[in-house]
């Protein structure tokens, strides 16, 4: 991993929102390095800041209410957060593409599929046969009967097909990084499997780096090489997927893994994490997880832990060695 070529480096990213009720530190010191061609998964529950992190990679957070309070996002060495508007536009789509959770609302309902795809292609690439390209893309994402589907309006397609179209649009310009934000959450289990298959295949074929954002730990086990676990705007633990899943170090990761009912385990009661995801407006002092942590001690309540590296694994916990 260390040898692979670095593509995207996020350093100490801080994205805050000033709302009526106060300051929300949605992302507060996130850092990671995404190598070329790698698949990473960013895992966390709702409100942990994973989507904001994803949007910040192409400076897509609405400003205001949001603003970038610090850190850098280096794509091939250039800081995305300091780019001009024109440069940003070239970046978006060309270098970083997104697939969002709800395909139904991400497609414009009044235009045909083919037109929307063609528009994406025209915007970023010149001198290609747009129609051919549209067809090729639709075939690539496995849309059956691409010729006729091109002429359909979005609402005529099922959720799975819409998501395929969204992926095709994201791929239209052969991006270096594909950010997939909960791409299967809105889909049925059987369709979810199809889409994940597709993503894995495309990643293999096109050699993109993929950042997969999800709340489902089970989903990523097969797909991602490395796992980043987020909680309250911070990455609390990161490491190679299997290592991390087999031996979670942060109490949050442990709790999360324990909370997932297993398909094949028999009987027995599963214990969740007590309490609920904290209100981003009223984050606790010290370690943000301490009110829910069964191992919390005095230091956890007062001092916020720093990243601790151990080989390829990082963890933010005062007491992970003791537990």
């Amino acid at each position: 991993m260390a040898l692979s070529e670095e593509l995207l480096r996020v350093e100490d990213l801080r994205v805050y929102f000033s709302t009526e009720r106060g300051l929300v530190r949605a992302v507060d010191g996130v850092g990671f390095v995404l190598p070329k061609g790698a698949t990473y998964a960013l895992v966390g529950e709702s409100g942990c800041g994973k989507s904001v992190t994803a949007l910040a990679l192409a400076r897509l957070v609405d400003e205001p209410p949001g603003y970038y309070a610090g850190g850098r996002v280096l794509l091939r060495g250039r800081n995305v957060l300091e780019m001009e508007e024109g440069e940003l536009r070239r970046l978006r789509g060309n270098e970083i593409s997104y697939v969002f959770q709800e395909p139904a609302v991400s497609l414009n309902p009044v235009f045909r599929i083919g037109y929307q795809l063609a528009e994406a292609i025209r915007l970023h690439r010149r001198g290609v046969n747009v129609r051919e390209e549209v067809l090729a893309l639709l075939k690539m994402v496995g849309l059956p009967d691409a010729e006729s589907k091109m002429k359909e309006y979005p609402h005529r397609l099922s959720g799975g097909m819409q998501q395929r179209v969204m992926i095709a649009m994201a791929l239209a310009c052969r991006p270096a990084v594909l950010v997939a934000d909960e791409p299967t959450t809105a889909l049925d289990v059987t369709i979810q499997a199809q889409i994940l298959e597709l993503l894995a295949r495309l990643q293999r074929e096109l050699g993109m780096a993929v950042l997969l954002i999800t709340h489902n730990l089970g989903l990523v086990a097969d797909l991602a090489e490395r796992l980043l676990v987020m909680y309250a705007g911070r990455i609390v633990e990161a490491g190679p997927t299997l290592d991390l899943l087999r031996g979670p170090r942060h109490p949050y990761t442990r709790g999360l893994l324990a909370a997932v009912p297993r398909l094949r385990s028999v009987g027995g009661e599963v214990r969740g994490i007590r309490g609920s995801v904290p209100n981003p407006l009223r984050l606790p002092e010290g370690c943000k997880f301490h009110p829910r942590c069964p191992f919390a001690s005095d230091i956890c309540r007062r001092v916020e832990p720093e990243d601790e590296w151990d080989g390829e694994r990082v963890v933010r916990c005062h007491r992970w060695r003791e537990i």
């Binding site: 529950e45 709702s46 059956p144 099922s158 799975g160 097909m161 049925d188 289990v189 059987t190 369709i191 979810q192 499997a193 199809q194 298959e197 709340h215 489902n216 730990l217 089970g218 989903l219 086990a221 097969d222 299997l242 899943l245 087999r246 709790g255 999360l256 893994l257 909370a259 997932v260 009912p261 297993r262 398909l263 094949r264 385990s265 028999v266 009661e269 599963v270 214990r271 969740g272 994490i273 007590r274 609920s276 995801v277 829910r292």
Partner: protein
């Protein structure tokens, strides 16, 4: 947990016989529920699994008589409730309660938690005010909330807490059957299991019969002794959870199970034979002749296209709607996409 003999001793509390719910009349009605029969006994939890649009929510609502059924019968405690109306219907509804997927929407945002419970206690149970106050606190504590929160409003609670309130409200009428429609799918992962555990505990405490509707097979597995798999408005497989999960007989059940991300398998480094179904989940409006699953079925034969299979008893408590149930073989290598 119930023991085997208890289950036998109790006659079914809520039954449906050949229940049909069609939407829109005319030649091509939307057959959301098409000939479903089921029985839930006191203290038993039955899981209902299916993908979106398969009719499982409609079935749940129809059992509560929130949807009018087109055909078939609903029998509660031995009494036919199919045509009940007015006070009889209201009484019936109070004995059967429902928990909804979205705990945010299920609570009236303009009513404090206490007021919501109080109203139910007053209207449905007719308790005097002092008694109602006492019960409200009891109920909140029963679902793991402090009684002092009665004066607060739904938006002040987190999703998990709201779901607890919804459960408390359902319990306020002291129901005998609880229909839980995707009660945890809108919740954070870390909170889901809290609610599941709560439901398990309440079921034990109040000896509730429960119909647990979900799309997450792992969750259903955790909650239920018996499960039913629904596809295109029909039950395609039914049986004890153990048996269905370890040896699914219907191709759809098999595909469904293989599609679920399996953390354990991944951790053990097992490669699974994932059956990736082709095509889309059919919408209820589509016309499919023969077996409704045949367009996506990897084991499809000619007969499947022509003849719709009936739900046949395969063994005790085990029913499957497939012509070739048992003939597919455990290791059958169907035509499938190779990973």
């Amino acid at each position: 947990m119930k023991t085997e003999d208890q289950r036998v001793a109790v006659r079914p509390l809520l039954e449906a016989h050949d229940l049909r719910v069609y939407f829109g009349g005319g030649k091509a009605p939307l057959k959301a529920v098409d000939g479903v029969s089921l029985a839930i006994a006191r203290g038993e939890t039955v899981g209902l699994v299916g993908e979106s649009g398969c009719g499982k929510t409609t079935l749940g609502r129809a059992l509560m008589r929130l949807e009018d059924s087109t055909g078939g019968r609903i029998v509660f405690d031995g009494v036919d409730m199919t045509g009940a109306a007015g006070r009889r219907l209201r009484t019936f509804r109070r004995r059967v309660q429902m928990i909804f997927q979205d705990p945010h929407g299920a609570l009236n945002p303009r009513m404090s938690v206490g007021a919501a419970l109080d109203e139910v206690l007053a209207v449905a149970r007719g308790l005097p005010a002092r008694e109602r106050r006492r019960r409200t606190v009891e109920l909140l504590e029963a679902v793991g909330l402090e009684g002092a929160y009665a004066g607060r409003y739904p938006h002040e609670f987190s999703g998990g807490q709201r779901q607890r309130i919804v459960i408390a409200r359902a319990l306020a009428v002291e129901p005998e059957v609880l229909i839980a429609d995707e009660p945890v799918s809108a919740l954070d992962v870390s909170v889901q299991v809290q609610i599941l555990n709560l439901l398990r505990e309440l079921r034990r405490r109040f000896n509730l019969a429960m119909l647990f509707i979900a799309h997450d097979l792992a969750v259903v597995r955790y909650m239920c002794e018996r499960i039913m798999v629904m596809y295109y408005g029909r039950i395609v497989e039914e049986g004890p959870a153990e048996a269905v999960y370890s040896a699914p007989e219907h191709p759809y059940t098999r595909a469904l199970l293989s599609a679920v991300p399996d953390l354990d398998a991944s951790l053990e480094g097992r490669r699974r034979n994932r059956i990736i179904l082709k095509g889309e989940v059919p919408t209820l409006g589509e016309r499919i002749t023969g077996c409704p699953f045949h367009p996506r079925c990897p084991w499809r034969r000619a007969r499947c296209v022509e003849e719709e299979p009936a739900l046949r008893e395969r063994s005790a408590g085990r029913r499957v709607a497939c012509h070739f149930a048992g003939e597919l073989g455990d290791d059958a290598e169907p035509e499938r996409e190779v990973k």
